[in-house]
Amino acid sequence: MLYRRPMTTARKLLDLDALAARIPDGAHLAIPADYSGVAMAATRALVRRRARGLRLVTVPTSGMQADILIGAGCVAAIETSGVGLGEHGLAPRFTAAAKSGSLHIIEATCPAIHAALQASEKGVPFMPLRGLLGSDLLAQRPDWKVIDNPFAAAGDPLVLLPAVRPDIALFHARWADRAGNVWIGRRRELATMAHAAARTLVTVEALFDGDLLADESTASGTLPSLYVSAAAVAERGAWPLPLPGLYAADDAAIRRYAQEARSDSGFARYLDETLRAAA
């Protein structure tokens, strides 16, 4: 084969702060669940550059990432099926912001977020979803519509969810190659996020020396460069969260965060230390 994939690294490969600068204040930002590869180093860069007014959509839940962004004042609104620290309990800054009414929380349920992203992925205005009826989520979501299933003989109400099209998807993965292909393994919700979002920014553990699409063993877990706007290398970029398959969560670090973030002053101290260490 004579063909070599485009050498677009120069255009697509940024440093971490340049990547974070691509996320403007007010952006509608999709972020993955803790088990998917969370861009924690990029999150700290966002806090450093004092991002404001972000509208998060968690795919479908979040933990420490959303909590830090909320605590640092970066977030205006969050659409989520759940924010918590897993084994370490409630997410303190999310909980405090919810109680004080300072955060606009758009309640969702996991399959609704997946389906609404799939609607954008497919270029359709909505997706149907079973369930939901009789829940107070519907009252919280005037954008969700109940119709009668047009294929049923008698009344069969079901919910239609409007497409969710984030401005930007942000996540952390193991590799990017020089063409901008990104290896996500079996974390396919990252592909859906990227397909649905207008732009996708990725941090990776390392550059992959070769073409991720050239070999079937890597191609089947690869998000093609078609969807990737820019990437930055951030070694251990999910820390203290895990990058499943490569490293586990740093349990002690998350526990310490869970304790510190319970108070405003503790969170301020944690943030200050973290950002100074990262600078």
Binding site: S36, K99, E107, A112, R130, G131, S135, L158, R186, E189
Partner: protein, 244 residues
């Protein structure tokens, strides 16, 4: 009763409720249900398939986060565990907040997949260790997922049981009411009535929840502890001194 810890006792009680299922999934932040599913699998001679959210080794899914919900929609998921910040006597579950949504008195993480899975999974086991009037309320203040649905609503699943640190209830979907089934050792029907905020049915004589067998305890402390530690390292370390 043997030397089972409180959590071990609950793990066995929950495992009993999913016996015979082909495929059981466990959601976020659920170490006791996770251990129960792993135990039930071990006791089934590995005939049961278990999907543990957040696990790599004990999760067959390869189509991303939606596959759990899609497979439930296909009818391929037999049982699921669900918790609740509040649970009421109609088996409505609140995972969101107590009080007004924009200024709540208490805030929980969120509804997760409950509003969907409660409709789609034939056997949903409610589990909440804390058994107080704070949790088991007359009426939840936010319905993340309703316990029952009126006729005409497409629904193939729903709650079948509620297990707490004190007892196990069965849920009668037609009547929309719980019935006290068994009491854990050391707990009484009067105590349960006093600590439960909702009304429920009860037999005049309530049986005891059977204790763990020696075989179950051996499996929990060996194989199950090792398997669970991948996803719940803190719990496994606290409970059994196990690292992943």
């Amino acid at each position: 009763m043997n030397d089972a810890s409180a959590n071990e006792f609950l793990i066995v009680a929950l495992a009993r409720m999913i016996e015979g299922c082909r495929h059981v999934a466990v959601g976020n932040a659920s170490p006791v249900p996770g251990a129960a599913a792993l135990l039930a699998r071990a006791l089934s001679g590995d005939a049961m398939l278990v999907s543990l959210l957040g696990s790599l080794a004990h999760n067959p899914y390869t189509d991303g986060g939606r596959e759990l919900f899609d497979s439930a929609g296909q009818g391929r998921l037999d049982a699921f565990f669900l918790g609740g910040g509040e649970i009421d006597g109609q088996a409505n579950v609140n995972l969101v907040a107590v009080g007004p949504h924009d200024a709540p008195l208490a805030r929980f993480p969120g509804s997760f997949g409950s509003a969907y899975l409660y409709f789609a999974v034939p056997r949903v086991i409610l589990f909440r260790a804390e058994h107080t009037r704070r949790v088991l309320v007359p009426r939840v203040s936010f319905i993340s997922a309703p316990g029952t649905s009126p006729p005409g609503i497409h629904r193939s699943g729903g709650p079948t049981a509620l297990v707490t640190s004190r007892c196990a209830f069965a849920f009668d979907r037609a009547r929309g009411r719980f019935r006290l089934e068994t009491l854990h050792p050391g707990h009484t029907a009067e105590e349960v009535r006093a600590e439960t905020g909702f009304d429920y049915d009860s037999a005049p004589e309530v049986a005891q929840t059977p204790p763990p067998s020696a075989r179950a305890l051996e499996l929990i402390r060996g194989r199950v502890a090792g398997e669970l530690a991948e996803t719940y390292p803190s719990f496994a370390a606290r409970e059994w001194g196990r690292a992943a």
